[in-house]
């Protein structure tokens, strides 16, 4: 365990950025999001949650897959270069790090997605324990410990100091790189903070949310056919905000961009909440917003767990709770079913 005075954080970031690309939560025009660090950025490690999750760093909102050129009747294809430099994402929270484990189950299973895999291999995660979990947080419901995030290095903000604990080989390597800025520390204050975080989490309003009836043992068709969906979905505006701020949503589209000198085929985030998501020449298999709304939650709480040994495709970050313009969210779904006797 090491520590560094907060006054020296800028020096720390500068030292990390010397050898790696560095992403940190920054306040840009009033919104805090992960962004490439430079000395001009307004780093904000106090705001608990960035607006968008940091999944962007591994599964970008938009990325080119390959380029195509036509020469008469002939075509040529040039794959986009994969991530080949190490990069550091600093300040990821426990929920967002677990979000990557969910994405791994999608992109790292056969056939492996090369683009995502390259970023996972080169990405170094410095996670930050949540000293002040907020009202909308419910990560503990999914077995996530906000006081002890996963990651390559785990850091804790305590008073004027930041405590630094490397937990993986990648983390050790990064620690060596910045060793001159760190001093030895004992764990007493960190242990005290962990206890305090756990205590706050236990008092959060959604911390005792029950997942009974969901997950891999859920009776899929009973849940699917429940009349509760018909009541629940009504206010949904189909804006898709929940999917765009979500650390685990992974639906994507593949599209073409005409550069004037060829075509870039790119993929970008998409949303199962949109009416044309499943639209095709012979029709649409989800024509109503109720069906689309149900799909999102059934996928997170039943389909995904059934395909992945019970792992839920929700990490309780609470972003959808905060950002949904009409206050519909996964917590409401879980509670409505709880009230309805989980049917």
């Amino acid at each position: 365990m090491y520590k560094i005075n907060k006054e020296n954080l800028s020096a720390l970031f500068s030292c990390i950025a010397d050898a790696n690309e560095l992403y940190v939560p920054c306040n840009i025009n009033g919104s805090v999001n992960f962004a490439a660090w430079d000395e001009e950025q307004l780093v904000d490690l106090d705001t608990l949650k960035t607006v968008k999750s940091p999944k962007d760093a591994f599964f970008p909102q938009s990325e080119t897959l390959y380029s195509c050129k036509r020469n008469g009747k002939k075509l040529s294809i040039t794959p986009e270069e994969l991530q080949n430099k190490d990069f550091v994402v600093f300040g990821m929270k426990a929920c967002d790090v677990r979000g990557l484990a969910v994405l791994d189950k999608v992109f790292l299973v056969d056939p492996v997605d090369s683009y995502y895999k390259a970023r996972r291999e080169h990405g170094i995660i410095v996670s930050l324990a949540c000293s002040q979990p907020e009202e909308a947080c419910f990560c503990n419901v999914f077995g996530i410990d906000a006081s002890q995030p996963e990651g390559d290095v785990v850091v804790y903000m305590i008073g004027d100091e930041m405590y630094w604990n490397a937990v993986t080989e990648k983390g050790e390597k990064l620690t060596k790189q910045v060793a001159s800025l760190l001093t030895d520390a004992d764990e007493a204050k960190v242990e005290a903070q962990k206890a305090s975080i756990k205590e706050i989490v236990s008092r959060l309003p959604y911390s005792s949310l029950s997942l009974e009836g969901w997950g891999k043992d859920a009776v899929l068709l009973d849940k699917f056919n429940s009349p509760i969906w018909e009541e629940l979905y009504k206010p949904c505006l189909a804006c898709g905000t929940c999917t765009f701020v979500c650390p685990t949503c992974q639906c994507y589209d593949i599209k073409d961009y005409n550069t004037g000198n060829g075509v870039q085929r790119y993929r970008c985030w998409d949303s199962c909440m949109y009416s044309d998501f499943t639209m095709m020449a012979h029709g649409n298999n989800r024509t109503s917003q109720m069906q689309r709304y149900r799909q999102r939650f059934m996928h997170k709480l039943v389909y995904f767990p059934q395909n992945n040994d019970g792992m839920y495709s929700c990490v309780g970050c609470g972003r959808c709770v905060d950002k949904c313009p009409i206050g519909l969210n996964i917590v409401k779904v879980i509670k409505a079913f709880e009230k309805g006797g989980n049917r």
């Binding site: 009747k73 040039t78 794959p79 699917f224 992974q250 589209d253 499943t278 389909y303």
Partner: protein, 285 residues
């Protein structure tokens, strides 16, 4: 990807990166269906597949979509796609000339169980319109390995005589093959047509098949619905009936989320399903 023309140092393979394919033959099957023959630029076959599998066909700058591979794997020279003109990409494909290059990636999905469950069985194929495309792959596979299967009955219908896909092959190959019965029907009376007139499900009832068969059905959803009812009335169990699903797809490998129904991804876990399996997933198809 032996034919890749990229000059990339760190070349890698990813299932999302297609191969270049050359269209070497285009056959006008019906007023709105053409069959495209595709090979690699060096003339070799693009890949090996099994009957029922699909591939992503694309024209860069126009679009990319999933099509079933209609040629049989027993064909060692090329792959074929029978494609109906019904959207932006298919409009472009229909306007294409022989020699033009497109991109193809795949094969994707599961296949009809030709080497396991169907071996030694009597087979009943029921198709409507362009629904013949995936079944044609199985039919030719079965005819090329005739000794491995029992009787073959093929019931195929379309809107009109002009809309019957692969009519030449049906008449010259399938109708002449040993132990194969072909039943054709069209929806409405038409001059010059002396065959059966009526919808596929009603013709099915008129013929009446023994239940000592496995039925493979493919066609418009409304046809599948009534054929399924008809077969069950004849005593077929849902386990004996195999069909294919078709949903919007982008990736082809169960990641982009579009073809997800219940815990299945049609691109990866399908497109071939036994009808009893369909009872276990939400009816969102």
């Amino acid at each position: 990807m032996s034919e890749c023309t990229c000059n990339h140092d760190s070349f890698y393979e990813d299932t999302l990166i297609p191969k270049v394919g050359v269209v070497t033959d285009i056959r006008q099957e019906t007023p709105d269906v053409k069959t495209f023959r595709v090979v690699a630029p060096d003339g070799s076959k693009l890949f090996e597949h099994m009957p029922g599998q699909c591939a992503m066909v694309s024209v860069p700058g126009v679009g990319e979509a999933m099509f079933s591979i209609t040629s049989s794997p027993t064909n060692k020279e090329f792959q074929e796609f029978s494609i109906k003109k019904c959207g932006v990409l298919t409009d472009y494909l229909h306007a294409m000339e022989v020699g033009e290059e497109i991109t193809v990636r795949g094969p994707y999905g599961n296949n009809f169980p030709v080497e396991t469950e169907l071996k030694g069985k009597n087979l009943l194929f029921i198709a409507g319109g362009i629904g013949l495309a995936p079944l044609r792959s199985v039919i030719n596979y079965v005819l090329d390995n005739r000794e491995n299967y029992g009787t073959v009955d093929i019931l195929y219908g379309s809107r009109s005589a002009d809309d019957l896909v692969q009519l030449k092959e049906i008449q010259e190959v399938w109708m002449k093959a040993p132990n194969v019965n072909v039943y054709l029907t069209i929806d409405r009376e038409q001059e010059g047509w002396d065959g059966h007139v009526g919808f596929v499900p009603s013709y099915l009832k008129e013929i009446g098949f023994d239940t000592n068969k496995v039925a493979l059905i493919c066609g418009p959803p409304i046809m599948i619905k009534f054929v399924l009812q008809g077969l069950q009335e004849m005593g077929f169990d849902k386990k004996q009936i195999i069909t294919t699903l078709e949903l919007r797809m982008k990736c082809g490998v169960g990641k982009c989320g579009r073809c997800n129904i219940g815990s299945k991804y049609v691109c990866k876990d399908g497109p071939v399903f036994h009808c009893d399996e369909l009872d276990e997933i939400p009816a969102e198809y």
